[in-house]
Amino acid sequence: MEAEAQRPGMDFSRAVPAATGALALASIVSLAICAWVVLKHKPVVLSMAPAAVALASAGALRLRPAARLMAAALAIGAGAGMYASEAIAMGLATAEPSGNDLVRDAAQADGVPYDSRPKIDIIMELRRRNVAAYPPYYPHRTFEAPLEADGAPAIPVAAVPNSVTVCCNEGGQYLIYRNDEHGFPNPPGLWGQAPMDVALVGASVAVGEAVPEADSIAYQLRQRYPKTISLGAGGNGPLLELASMREYLPVLRPRRVLWLYSESHTAEYLQKEHKVPLLRYLDPSYEQKLLAREASLSSAVRRHLDDAIDAELHPQQPTLRSEALDLLSLKRVRLQVSDLRLRGVSKERGRLPGDLYEQVLRRGEEIVSAWGGRITLVYVPDRGRYIGAPGYTPEVRQLYDENRATLLAVAGKLGIPVIDVSRRFEDLPPARRAEYAKYFYQFPSHFKPAGYRIMDRAILEELR
């Protein structure tokens, strides 16, 4: 190979016009991509990259023939490399095991029969049996397009009352639960028993995703405190949780409020929610009057979920033209470049803003203290904090540790007790790291029944 490298004397002078053409083409194509990106998307710094390539290619046209040939070889190679990367990325995407595969594997490993039916099939089957079945309602998905009720925009925090939610399948079987008379994941009739013993406020973990009902926190708490109610909804962050506290808790007047902090997303969601005008719940005078508008809000939520079902039943298939355009415009490569840029800010996005969180907790305390209730924070760990567990990186661990320290400091300052579940799972030595599979599902990453049991035990011990 070395000897071959020393053979520069080959004459390719006849290739110079082709090289000139290739450089001119590279320049034109790059300019076209730049224009397309700017027109279709926002004109960000990223769209300047093709412009720089266009300029460099045009500049190379003024080089001496030999150098022009070399520049053309570089441009052709780099261009071919980019399109090859696009093709490889497409290939890798299709090769990626789907969530269903991971769930099937998890079920097989745990000896649980695997329900391979898509969620939509189960919903339609239940509907055929006149059951009001819906997919889960995630309030945060309405941030960009709030629902309309009584002619005004709103972000409801509860699902359709008295309906059935077909939630998710993480361990082989779907979590299917009944919503109470106000749309929360509880058995019916609890609302008439106020004051409550315990109210659970939080995201998916407060719902019990995705374990059998008997393993959920609310169910376990009810064994000791029968008047336990959950106001949880998947994807909730602190301001949505504050919304459910402000709008619904005064009716329930619970003695204890267990406010769940999910290590995996609470910090990030807080920052997102803080920008949503309809969630300005830090203002003591603000409320959406969700309980009073329940009838119209329920209809809005029902319409929203029916639209989602309709989209699922009639999905839009990508056309050949759109696929070709994506390939030509290097869609995946561009997305990854933006992602690289975002990766830099994602750490900041995942950092818990101590001051803002303190305001949220303070406001929560004000609400709950109105009837003499008390808040206890529950710190729910993510599997990514444990070395050897899926999703672990030293950076993730560091971020979680920093956020945990912030939370403990804020809670300490406000005198709010914290049940730190992260300490109930240890950092296992390498030989025992496979044990994490006992506690966390492979996909997406919720607790398995064994993980929930540890959390249930921790909460019950601390509440004693």
């Binding site: 070395e2 071959e4 020393q6 071919a80 490399g81 990325a89 890798l92 090769a95 595969d101 490569v333």
Partner: protein, 477 residues
Amino acid sequence: MGSTSFEFLGFALAAVAAFRLSSSPVWRRSVFLIANLVFLGSFVGGPWSLVPLAAFLGFGYAGVALIRRAPARSFLPILAATIAAFVWLKKYAFVPGAWFLPVAYVTVGLSYILFRLLHLMIDTRSGNLPARVGVVSYLNYTLNFTTLVSGPIQPYQEFEKMSGAAAPPLNIFTTAAAVERIVIGLFKANVAALLLSTYHTRAIAALASPEPAVWRVAHAAMIVVYYPFFLYCNFSGYIDIVIGIGRLLGLTLPENFNRPFAADNFITFWNCWHMTLSNWLKTYVYNPLLMSLMRRFPARGLETTWLAVALFVTFFLVGVWHGQTSEFLFFGFLQGFSVSTNRMWQIAMAKRLGNKRFKALSARPWYVAIARGFTFTWFSFTLLWFWSNWGQLRSFQAALSVGQECALWLAMFAAATALLAGWESLRRRMAGFHWDGAPVTQSQYWRVAQGAAAVTIVLLLTLLMNQRAPEIVYKAF
């Protein structure tokens, strides 16, 4: 530090830059030693984790010195003790677990260090190593960061000739050739191997799902086909990278691969795959064993038998070296069986047809294509015991009926024969493609375009898409 990572590349380039700062032998040897120790240090978990490896190296050095002083008396005990220490440190399955050290320690590159040590000891004993090996040279040779993790295995005489002050200065052509080699290696190890490994894993998962028989056979075929190519890209990619880095340091590391899938028999295959290991075993196991058998039992009719025995033992050891489990033992058996049977076939055919006619037959394109297809299919079959365990093999078998398995291997053989012949033909055509009388694929423009494409793909895939390449498989051995 992964040997195909950008981190390793950055480290290696920093070492090259420091190494090239001065041509003083002391400077270069010192920089090389520091680089080797820093690289080794990157694997260290705690203060005591390096002690067993350091003791093994110290024992090896003392052993070589003792053999030089009293070769007749000390050689065999020291050789046996070195192998025993290696087996103990590598925690071979047949050694009682209670004998092992209860602490975690570094074993990276231990197998390759053993090959270098045994070579030093045997060559000292036979007088092929005339000069005394100094401590720095010894450490630089055994811990050479370019070859520590997975080889290639270089003879000390070659290493010593090229290291230190003797390293030739770099020029644009040697640098370009070295960079080209590194880029090719990065592409193979970080892109091609990643893709093949992803598809291999996917095919294994797909085989377990309930699907029609045709699809199951197709998934099984993919499982069998992807792995040899993955292993090749993974290992030869790493070798390309370290050979390129070696060139920048003025070290000409031996080649470890020479288009193995073009081999049309199993003996040629092992002459083209992990070549330095095959050569080492040929020099230190096959030749002495064959000589000794022929000397002890000199009857004329037994020559072929001894040849087969020596080949079997040598290639059995090749397999066994890879791992300590019964799967690797069987893998070794299959390698030994294949190579010795292949040799017997060649002898029998030469006897039956005569040397000339057999040679003529072996050169016929259809014979070469079929033999190449068979060699690839058989090697892929033997690799089942390399990457899987008995449990996985049972589920593989359970997923297919006997008829489906037969169909699988027949289809594999037919496809390998046709596709490898097609690939060889395409290669020849590409090499023969000329522009104005000059071979295009050897021009600097073609190679620059090829390199630019490879660099772009590697950068986009590893940096942007956050896809980590699989570890070098041979690192574990």
